[in-house]
């Protein structure tokens, strides 16, 4: 992004009309002298975000480096091609446990006690985790402690030993986490909604007490050895260092790490045919929590820009969105309500509308949610589209809040084969979205007649029967 446009030219029309209207009416003088917002003028912002340096070590390990000398601190993170999508169906939880135990199970050169003592005495941190599609090992350290920090960081990445007693501890903690995951209605609702959408596909699977019990120390050793290989790893380095020195140091540490091809098991495509359904999980007390929606899109979809604008108008922009206005602000039915457009990287994500209200207004809220999906397919006002575009473009600066964030963005793009200029071209692509585009994508990608609806709440107290939305069935969390 070369320069932030001066959006004073683009203040939406209705604001001007309204404020002029006010000035003409000449109302009671407020305290202080407040110009109309539309009369304010702003200097343009000239700013070019820093570009990280890209290097590749001989074994294929990719480095992105960005110096930042404001504070004597260095952050390093390794993003790896590994994920829960590759774990066997009877060992769900293996990826996540492998990720955390790489750090907490000790390494060839450091017992876990030594590692904890050393890092914490320096005020440094090394953490490791594995998610659905990628793994992270990250470190934050003061510049003066870089050498010590790097030795531990590299060991966690390359030579974890998964000590048996630490494997046992991690498994017991995971099982306790499973026992506790139904304590919070919103978490139940989001998790069970994903299961309803994805079924047995890896995106919808979740760990069970049995699947955790099935996991052995050897499984973790194998999982790590299989997927942590130089060509599958991107290192992001930001902070108070000199690039050439850092590259030299990292080559020394990592150059004897042999590259090897990784055979990734095939991940099945997300099933496209999903029948609509109405589901209720009975839970007494408090609110009724609603999640409804269907499959969404992929990150590389050319319509993603128009979809982002559409979602901003519908329910993705807090108080400014239609869902918030109608359900919260006008009617006082909810504290939180909104929509999210999860764009999946490898495969389709989910489109969700979610909110919470008292059980006595549960179906009223669901009806309003569905009505809003239909309404946005029929009409959007030009000023709504303009306001959404302004908001997305003008807040784009905040995606660059730190040098490590910039490095992480570049790694994300390369990791997912997205163009390197993705960030730079993003505001321009949003700017070109038209009202017609928004209407078209609302019609094409929203399916108010093919929804999966899930309510967690006290069904006895609902204002009307859920059957008005289709045949309702009662399900229980965690059950197949």
């Amino acid at each position: 992004m070369k320069k932030l446009r001066n959006p004073s030219r683009r203040i939406a029309l209705p604001a001007i009309a309204v404020l002029l209207g006010f000035l003409l009416s000449g109302c009671a003088a407020p305290v202080g002298n407040f110009p109309a917002v539309s009369d304010l003028r702003y200097k343009p912002i000239q700013w070019v975000p820093a570009e990280p340096e890209r290097r590749v070590l001989k074994n294929g390990l990719v480095l992105y480096l960005l110096e930042d000398h404001e504070l004597p601190v260095i952050h390093i993170s390794a993003t790896s091609r590994v994920g829960s999508e590759y774990e066997p169906a009877d060992k769900v939880g293996l990826a996540s446990l492998t990720g955390s135990t790489m750090r907490t199970g000790g390494t060839e050169s450091f017992s876990v006690e030594e590692m904890d003592d050393t890092l914490e005495f320096l005020g440094a941190g090394v953490e490791s985790s594995i998610g659905m599609e990628s793994g992270q090992v990250s470190m934050g350290v003061l510049r003066k402690d870089l050498d010590t920090g790097l030795r531990i960081f590299a060991d966690v990445l390359r030579r974890p030993v998964f000590r048996q007693n630490r494997v046992d501890l991690a498994k017991s903690q995971a099982i306790e986490g499973i026992r506790r995951r139904n304590d919070h209605p919103e978490r139940i609702a989001q998790r069970e909604f994903a299961r309803l959408i994805y079924g047995d596909h890896p995106n919808g699977r979740m760990a069970t007490v049995q699947s955790i019990r099935n996991i052995t120390r050897q499984d973790m050793i194998d999982f790590h050895r299989l997927y942590y290989r130089p060509r599958q790893i991107f290192l992001g380095i930001a902070g108070d260092f000199q690039t050439e020195e850092m590259v030299a140091q990292l080559s020394e540490i990592f150059s004897n790490w042999e590259a090897a091809p990784v055979a990734y098991p095939p991940v099945p495509p997300v099933p496209r045919e999903i029948s609509p359904s109405v589901n209720v999980i009975n839970k007494e007390g408090g609110q009724a929590t609603v999640v409804l929606g269907h499959l969404g899109v992929r990150f590389n979809n050319p319509d993603l820009y128009a979809l982002r604008v559409m979602n901003h108008i519908l329910g993705g922009s807090g108080l400014n969105s239609r869902l918030m206005r109608e359900i919260r602000s006008d009617r006082g039915l909810a504290y939180t309500v909104g929509s999210s457009l999860g764009a999946g990287v490898r495969d389709l994500g989910t489109f969700r509308v979610a909110g919470g209200t008292k059980p006595q207004t549960a179906t009223e809220m669901i009806s309003l949610m569905i009505k809003n999906l239909r309404d946005i397919q029929k009409d959007v006002k030009p000023e709504e589209v303009e306001a959404a575009k302004e908001a997305i473009i003008n807040s784009f600066l905040f995606t660059y809040t730190s040098k490590s964030a910039i490095v992480a963005q570049q790694i994300f793009l390369e990791f997912h084969d997205l163009p390197r200029d993705y960030m730079r071209t993003y505001p321009g692509k949003i700017a070109r979205v038209t009202r017609e585009d928004v209407l078209r994508v609302a019609k094409q990608y929203l399916h108010p007649d093919h929804l999966i609806i899930l309510v967690v709440g006290d069904e006895k107290k609902f204002d009307r029967s859920l059957s008005q939305f289709g045949t309702a069935r009662t399900i229980r969390p965690d059950e197949p």
Binding site: L4, V18, G123, R180, A391, T401
Partner: protein, 500 residues
């Protein structure tokens, strides 16, 4: 928006230290302090990494400043300040005024009728009320503050209410600072309490979501209500349901007049700024707002505790535990000693409670501590929170925790352990300097609570002087059975004795 901060986190108590680093070393000289004639305090810090600014407005008013029967008032005020001014959020304020008065009169009558349960009167009033509201809606521009900020690239536009303070924040592109000054000065000077009744329903939903749906929140609420007898720290910021239902615009106006005055406000701006320009801007917009009389001070003092208090909450959730001990607040020397105890017990994997309860005895799923709960303006609590790992119970956890407290009272902390704590606080301070909004938050918080933002700088120097003997002494004096309150969250027993 509008978090009522009933979560359990010691957000402010870790890691505000003076260090060797350039940025930190300079903080003393780089923060610019400016006081307006109306006694509004302005704190500025230049950071030119990115062409953005973080703004933070802190009002010294929160849950503790409410009167009995009006709990939830400070939080409701915070919600209502999103509704606009005489020039924001309205198509015609003059026309609106008469309607607002009518809605208020009918609304009050309706509230009273509903409390008395007079069905016929309720139905008549409801019709009248809805008609007036519909008419009023035509004059409202919905959520205009939010829309203007959003269109101008604002992010993180939000507010929160705690027991001690109310905070309004937004981050903006640096060239939009005048927009911020124009909107925020207007918000302070000319708030209009429109759409009050629907917003009151929103707050009731917020309460249902936050307190009634989540066992841990309900436990925290009862834990505080048991720990304090007299002091308003016992009351929930979100309010008791019956209190919230009976809040009126009149009560809110009075609160606004009393507390939302420049002499009770601290503002910080951190980021890509020219301090001279910013001072001129703030003078221009906030300068004309008249100072008010000094807000009243709280007279009530919590009587010393005379024996352990216990409370149980039965809820459809896995068990957990709070233990709290009364202690002095800022600027007491003992408050600093508790910051060290806090870190010793639960900061990191090598902390005493984590090692003992999670790693070794394997009876805890999680354990944490906080010093300065639920606020810092008045004497407060040192709090331990833990969740047992099945099949262990909250009682076993309690025993494990008391064993570690015994150790604090009998053995001296080693110099290396103390050094570790200092190092960790220093490093986390340095890493935290990277955040404009974090810095802005600390500046107004400590200026408001400690009376001087330099608390941030002095904190490490003072912590560095805390001795092992002092830690033992403070532990012996305060961490006693007579001074503690224990709250347990337990699952109600069902007929067949298992969980439902």
């Amino acid at each position: 928006m509008a978090l009522s901060r009933i979560r359990f986190t010691a957000v402010f108590l870790l890691g505000f230290l003076w260090t060797q680093a350039a940025m930190a070393q300079d903080l003393q000289d780089r923060v610019i302090e400016h006081r307006l004639k109306n006694d509004l305090t302005l704190l500025l810090l230049e950071r030119h990494e990115l062409p953005t600014v973080a703004t933070n407005i802190r009002i010294k008013a929160g849950g503790v400043d409410e009167l009995p029967g009006s709990t939830g008032l400070a939080h409701m005020v915070e919600h209502m300040l999103f509704k606009g001014t005489k020039t924001i959020g309205t198509r015609d304020y003059q026309k609106e005024q008469a309607l607002l008065e009518k809605i208020q009169t009918v609304g009050n009558a309706l509230d009273q009728a509903e409390r008395k349960g007079k069905a016929e009167e309720i139905s008549l009033l409801k019709t009248e009320f809805q008609k007036a509201q519909e008419e009023h809606r035509k004059l409202v521009i919905k959520d205009e503050f939010a829309r203007i900020y959003s269109e101008n690239g604002g992010v993180g536009y939000n507010a929160s209410t705690s027991k001690d303070v109310t905070t309004y924040v937004v981050n903006l592109p640096a060239n939009r600072l005048e927009l911020w000054a124009r909107l925020e000065a207007d918000r302070m000077a000319n708030p209009v309490l429109r759409e009050f009744y629907s917003e009151r329903d929103v707050v009731l939903e917020e309460r249902r979501r936050g307190v009634e749906s989540v066992g841990a929140s309900r436990l925290y609420l009862e834990f505080l209500a048991t720990s304090f007898l007299a002091h308003p720290y016992r009351l929930p910021v979100i309010g008791w349901e019956s209190d919230v239902r009976s809040l009126t615009p009149q009560k809110l106006s009075k609160f606004l007049e009393t507390y939302y005055v420049p002499n009770n406000t601290v503002i910080s701006i951190v980021g890509d700024i020219d301090p001279k320009e910013v001072i001129a801007l703030v003078e221009r917009y906030f300068g004309p707002i008249p100072a008010g009389p000094p807000p009243p001070s709280l007279i009530v003092e919590e009587p010393p505790q005379k024996g352990e208090r216990r409370v149980q909450v039965l809820f459809d959730a896995e068990s957990s535990l709070y233990i709290g001990y009364h202690k002095p607040n800022i600027p007491s020397r003992e408050d600093y000693v508790f910051d060290v105890i806090d870190a010793l017990l639960s900061d990191g994997r090598t902390s005493r409670l984590y090692r003992s309860l999670v790693d070794e005895k394997k009876i805890a799923y999680s354990v944490s501590t906080s010093s300065g709960t639920p606020g810092a303006r008045y004497p407060n609590l040192f709090v331990l929170r833990a969740a047992p790992r099945s099949p262990h119970t909250t009682r076993e956890l309690e025993k494990g925790i008391y064993a570690e407290i015994d150790k604090l009272q009998s053995e001296l902390v080693t110099p290396r352990e103390l050094q570790k704590i200092r190092n960790r606080l220093e490093a986390s301070f340095l890493m935290g300097l990277n955040s404009n909004s974090g810095l802005a938050n600390q500046l107004t918080y400590f200026q408001t609570i400690a009376g001087d933002w330099r608390y941030i700088l002095n904190h490490r120097r003072i912590l560095g002087t805390v001795t092992p003997e002092e830690i033992r002494e403070v532990a012996r004096k305060y961490l006693t059975p007579e001074n503690r309150t224990v709250a347990e969250l337990l699952r109600p027993k069902t007929d067949n004795g298992t969980k439902p």
